[in-house]
């Protein structure tokens, strides 16, 4: 783990805390969520400071994506562009992708390898730990110009983040006071990540879904176990995930991290779903080629669906044998991006890789399941415009955010707001 410089950036945080005008909540309860949280520009700006640059860990990339010394990759923390590197000594670093001189973007490619980074604008160079190593014409030209005597390169390094790795996932934080990553995850969530990422991964693909909605609407959606088998016919009809199946919800103490899981059991009757007359429980819907919904129990515990989130924007997904990580990036009040990395494991045989590739039809922009999650956030976003006073309701399964052994609940969505309000001071 890196220990970045603390110094000058702390001050700006303090200032913005004093000038905030954030959306007010009707009460201290987590069951009423003001719609203005999704439409307010000042709220959005404050989230960048207090959440994304606050005491949180943001997912940056996989260790497997920068395996070699000198590898670098461009990611982001909130809207801030960040470079992740593996230095010559093999250690991980992250810093803002912005030259300390005039603020130009440094890395213009998404990924690369080298022994340092030079700004194209005025030729300032940095090593892969983000330290300023040279300044073009530092001593001037023909003994004229150049930097003054008091200029010290060591005072103009790039703005560094703390970096930590867990199970091959690299996270970064701007905050010095954030607990170490494993404490931040919580023991139960850490165990649920370990369950999936026990072996070295192999990247099978990448794609990005541009979502027409505020970032929070997506993060709520992915934490919402109530909607999954109602909106998604594929979950229900093919019995990948139903609320009647054995499973549960784990929410960490802070509320921001969660895991929802279900054990596939095709012996459970249809009665409860039939009574509700749900569109998604369509018994006569059949696939001609059912390989897309045929999974094998690769983790040996019968859990065929696990969805896990780490506040504020990381998702680890197991739908049958389709494994993916998703990075949620806010791109404005009404826009966000969901970057998907589709995974297998390095020791997968050809049949397993093929199975994962076929089941990947369930997820991503064209996923039989995920395309619908891409759409619903936009449905809310379009409907809440201009509704200043109204609030949404989160009463399913009680009013708190504790772990539960059933999934007809909104406990993990309430957990999101618990964490959110604590960080925002609301």
């Amino acid at each position: 783990m890196q220990q970045p410089e603390q110094a000058s950036h702390q001050a700006s945080h303090q200032v913005s805390h004093q000038v905030s005008h954030q959306v007010s909540w009707p009460s201290s309860e987590l069951t009423l969520v003001p719609f203005r949280l999704y439409t307010d520009a000042e709220q959005y700006a404050l989230e960048q400071e207090r959440i994304f640059k606050g005491p949180t860990w943001s997912y940056l990339c996989l260790a497997a994506e920068i395996p070699n010394r000198g590898d670098y990759l461009v990611s982001s923390v909130g809207e801030t562009p960040v470079v992740v590197t593996r230095s010559a000594s093999g250690e991980l670093n992250a810093f803002v992708n912005r030259c300390a001189h005039r603020g130009s973007l440094l890395c213009l490619k998404r990924r690369g390898n080298g022994d340092g980074i030079t700004c194209v604008y005025h030729g300032w160079s940095y090593d892969l730990a983000g330290n300023l190593t040279s300044v073009a014409f530092e001593r001037g030209v023909k003994r004229q110009g150049g930097m003054p005597a008091e200029f010290k390169r060591s005072e103009h390094n790039l703005r560094k983040l703390r970096v930590a790795e867990f199970c091959g996932l690299i996270f970064g934080s701007f905050d010095q006071g954030v607990p170490d990553l494993e404490t931040y995850l919580g023991a139960e969530i850490a165990a649920r990540i370990r369950r999936v990422l026990k072996r070295p991964v192999k990247v099978l693909g990448r794609t990005t879904q541009v979502l027409p909605n505020n970032w929070k609407l997506y993060f709520e959606n992915v934490k919402d176990s109530y909607h999954a088998s109602i909106l998604h016919l594929f979950f229900t009809t093919f019995e990948i995930s139903r609320l009647s199946q054995q499973g549960g919800i784990i929410v960490d103490d802070g509320g921001g991290n969660h895991a929802s899981y279900s054990i596939m059991d095709r012996s459970i009757g249809n009665a409860e779903y039939r009574e509700q007359a749900l569109r998604s429980a369509k018994d006569d819907y059949r696939l001609e080629d059912s390989s897309v919904v045929e999974g094998v129990d690769e983790f040996g515990d019968g859990v065929m669906m696990q969805i896990l989130t780490v506040f504020p924007g990381f998702v680890l997904q197991q739908h049958l044998n389709s494994i993916a990580v998703r990075q949620l990036v806010p791109r404005g009040v009404e826009r966000s991006e969901l970057a998907w990395t589709i995974l297998g494991f390095a020791d997968d045989d050809a049949a397993m890789t093929e199975r994962r590739l076929k089941q990947a039809n369930l997820v991503g922009p064209a996923g039989y399941i995920s395309m619908e999650d891409g759409a619903v956030g936009g449905f809310v976003q379009r409907a809440v415009r201009g509704l200043d006073a109204d609030a949404g309701l989160l009463m399913m399964g009680g009013s708190d955010s504790r772990s539960q052994e059933f999934r007809a609940t909104e406990a993990s969505v309430r957990g999101f707001w618990k964490k959110y309000r604590a960080l925002m001071g609301a």
Binding site: R110, V203, L204, G205, R206, T207, T208, Q209, V210, L211, P212, L231, L233, F234, T237, K282, Y285, L287, E288, D289, S291, V292, E337, I342, T353, L357, K358, A360, N361, G364, P365, A366, Y368, M371, E372, G374, A375, V376, G378
Partner: protein
């Protein structure tokens, strides 16, 4: 073109049939006759939507991937019966088609495309651009796709990709 493609000349009639197959493909999708779309492929086919970046990196994952006509028919039935998405339509513009023979039975074709997506609200966007890399069975009429790899220029898709490209 794939290394398998020889530089042997392709008969004009073959070119016309290939052009006709690609025209029928676009017409089936853009005129919402999606049920005709899988029938343009051989039974044991391969359909993959990937991005130029994933393609260059040699990554096998497809945003949509099918290795049988059955899987293509399932895509259509899911759109008709299962999935929730807003009503929308595509308009494909396909550029000139380059055709080379791979064998007596198979030709390879490359063509460039743009797709405009118009939502039921009237909002239209340039949704995708890229290249089709095809292997086509020319052993009998009508010609059918053995393989159609759709390589999009961007790895980003707006909201969702419901209708096939």
């Amino acid at each position: 073109m794939d290394a398998r493609a020889a530089s042997r000349p392709v008969d004009q009639n073959v070119r016309l049939e290939v052009q006709d197959l690609i025209a029928r493909y676009v017409d089936a999708i853009d005129q919402d006759r999606l049920e005709e779309w899988p029938e343009l492929f051989v039974e044991k086919c391969r359909y993959l939507i990937t991005s130029a970046e994933s393609d260059a990196d040699g990554l096998p994952h497809g945003v949509i991937y099918a290795d049988s006509r059955g899987m293509l028919r399932d895509r259509v039935s899911a759109l008709r019966e299962a999935n929730i998405y807003e009503q929308q339509r595509y308009r494909h513009v396909v550029g000139p088609i380059r055709v080379e023979a791979e064998s007596e039975m198979i030709v390879q074709a490359r063509s460039h495309f743009l797709v405009v997506r118009t939502m039921h609200t009237g909002d239209a966007t340039l949704f995708a651009s890229g290249i089709y890399r095809d292997r086509i069975d020319v052993s009998c009429i009508p010609y059918r796709f053995i393989e159609r790899i759709v390589v999009t220029d961007s790895h980003k898709f707006d909201t969702l990709l419901a209708i096939p490209l």
